[in-house]
């Protein structure tokens, strides 16, 4: 473990119904880094993220936040350091955008869960502004488009004021323009050095847009973890996804093309 690493998984395993979902996973996330986990459906990406946030306790191994075993921290302590954005389906949450984002302040409320303080409302306003959805403040979440809803979920995580943001498939249901907006937002937050980002996706081009490093996960094992240029290679990708790929260079950015094969 390097000194700069903020979140680390140490030989983490998890199984369900006798099937290994995570198998001896080691990873380190450095402070200020953007790590993207890629892999096919069922590779264990969501399970890995849920373990990293503390929603699942690993069956073996440990997850450490700044060197401390996650299991030894209280839920609220964890929530002040790790903000989770689960994969969302078109949502039926019937709250207004502001009510929703305010819920991100839960870990900071007093023990008696009193009324939110001025600092809470300031954090909400900041989060809405950063994400650029201040105008939607009073709208109901159910009235928003998928892209707007995803933005609200990100804003909620921002209001949580955690150093690490952990996002599961943040762009899956979005059209290209909203995918771009979310990617730009994450890259911006990350570049400003405010947030460490861990995201899971099977969208390789999204990964190459924002990642400092990419972790390739296959059948619960780490196949490789390196800078995008080292991961986004045809041989590795076809081993990862069991499908043929071609890589085109766009400047220094590798663009992945799926091939039909011959």
């Amino acid at each position: 473990m390097t000194a700069a690493s903020i979140l680390a998984a140490d030989d983490v395993g998890w199984q369900f119904d006798g099937r290994r979902i995570l198998d001896h996973v080691d990873l380190q996330v450095d402070r200020g880094e953007c790590l993207v986990v890629v892999g096919p459906n069922g590779a264990g990406k969501t399970t890995l993220l849920r373990t990293l946030v503390g929603l699942l306790e690993p069956a073996s191994g440990t997850v450490r936040l700044e060197g401390t075993d996650l299991a030894r921290l209280s839920r609220r302590e964890r929530a002040r350091h790790l903000a989770y954005v689960p994969q969302i389906r078109p949502t039926r949450v019937p709250l207004t955008v502001e009510q929703m984002v305010l819920l991100g302040r839960y870990p900071y409320l007093s023990a008696f869960r009193g009324a939110p303080r001025a600092s809470d409302f300031e954090a909400v306003a900041r989060a809405l502004e950063v994400v650029g959805i201040g105008a939607l403040r009073e709208r109901l979440l159910t009235e928003l488009s998928g892209g707007e809803q995803q933005a609200v979920y990100v804003a909620t995580a921002l209001a949580q004021e955690a150093e690490v943001m952990i996002l599961d498939e943040p762009t899956t249901h979005l059209d290209p323009s909203h995918q771009r907006e979310i990617a730009a937002l994450l890259a911006e937050l990350n570049r400003r050095g405010e947030k460490t980002v861990v995201a899971a996706t099977h969208d390789l081009n999204f990964a190459s847009l924002i990642a400092d490093r990419i972790l390739a996960l296959r059948e619960g094992r780490v196949l490789a973890c390196d800078v995008p240029a080292k991961i986004l290679r045809p041989e590795l990708l076809s081993e990862l996804f069991r499908a043929p790929f071609e890589i085109v260079r766009e400047g220094d950015r590798p663009v992945t093309l799926l091939e039909l094969g011959r």
């Binding site: 849920r50 946030v53 503390g54 929603l55 209280s74 839920r75 609220r76 964890r78 929530a79 790790l82 903000a83 989770y84 689960p86 949450v93 019937p94 709250l95 207004t96 009510q99 929703m100 819920l103 991100g104 839960y106 870990p107 409320l109 008696f112 869960r113 949580q160």
Partner: protein, 323 residues
């Protein structure tokens, strides 16, 4: 409507209902008569109607707020103590206590109430155990388990009635219909603290409940203890429903109808929705009871029959509307 305004309007309606409902009935009474020392009018108003309306106000509020808490906890608009069998469990406990003639008190509580509470809590825990998997709450399992438990409780209640002698059977059957008829201030004073404390406990957990609306993973990742909030909600509602059922018998569907109507009006924030249900449920049941007292006057219907007649079709409508 702004939730604060809606809450004020509800409070106004609540006061009007509490003061007005006792004046209406098979025999109209004017406040002047009752206050001017007219013996009969005063007796009807103060001794018979007022405690009955007060009990309806409290019971309706407790039923509505329990329904709301269940719907949020299980993230399903069809969940309420009645549909999930919790009220059935309470009724079974109470009937058992009646059959075995447990009079007196258990740990300071009337035996029937204590038995109803234990019945309600047991069913809650069984349902929780069945429906909560490591992937969250299985809603289909939840509702089907509720039906199965309700049916089992009904069968056991019938069995107990079969064993009981004629007088006891009549008492049980009448009680099972759910009614507010023969009550005095004693019953009101017995139910009131449960409703007030239960309501406050739920308001105290409004953040947890709001977070549950966004999904269990999101709630847990923000620091909500799912186990704790589940136990709080089930414990609080079981206590309220147990106390209530021991007095009024099972009154169904208030917890289904009232929260549903109020959400459209005050929104989904539990800070406003919980007090709104306490007020709105009371208004609803007091008005239902007014109907039960007057529709067939001078005869009186048990109010449970009336709420079930309204609630059955409403449940079906919710089912269809959700498609």
């Amino acid at each position: 409507m702004n939730p604060r305004t809606a809450l004020l309007v509800l409070l106004g309606l609540w006061i009007v209902t509490t003061l007005g409902a006792p004046l209406v009935g098979s025999q109209a009474i004017s406040l002047k008569d009752a206050l001017s020392g007219d013996g009969t009018a005063a007796t009807i108003l103060w001794r018979i109607r007022l405690p009955r309306v007060l009990l309806a106000i409290l019971a309706g509020g407790a039923l509505a707020v329990s329904g709301l808490a269940f719907q949020t906890l299980f993230r399903n608009p069809l969940a309420e103590p009645y549909t999930l069998g919790v009220a059935g469990g309470a009724a079974l406990g109470a009937v058992l206590a009646m059959q075995l003639e447990w009079i007196g008190t258990a740990v300071g509580f009337p035996a029937v109430a204590a038995a109803a509470f234990i019945g309600a809590l047991s069913v809650s825990l069984v349902i929780l155990g069945l429906a909560v998997t490591r992937f969250g709450v299985e809603v289909t399992t939840l509702l089907l388990a509720g039906i199965a438990i309700s049916l089992s409780c009904s069968a056991l209640i019938l069995f107990l009635q079969y064993l009981a002698d004629f007088t006891k059977t009549f008492r049980m059957v009448r009680w099972m219909m759910g009614g507010l008829s023969v009550v005095g201030y004693g019953e009101v004073l017995w139910v009131a603290p449960w409703v007030v404390v239960g309501g406050l406990a739920l308001v105290g957990h409004r953040w947890d409940l709001n977070l549950l609306l966004t999904g269990e993973d999101l709630a847990a990742s923000r620091g909500v203890s799912l186990l704790r909030i589940r136990l709080v909600v089930l414990g609080v509602t079981s206590a309220m429903i147990g106390a209530l059922v021991s007095v009024t018998g099972p009154i169904g569907f208030v917890g289904l109808i009232v929260p549903h109507m109020l959400r459209r009006w005050v929104g989904h924030d539990h800070l406003f929705l919980i007090p709104a249900c306490l007020l709105g449920g009371g208004i609803f049941l007091a008005i239902c009871d007014l109907g039960a007292r007057t529709i067939m006057a001078p005869a009186e219907l048990p109010v449970g029959i009336l709420t079930a007649l309204l609630g059955g079709p409403f449940f079906l409508w919710l089912l269809i509307a959700r498609r």
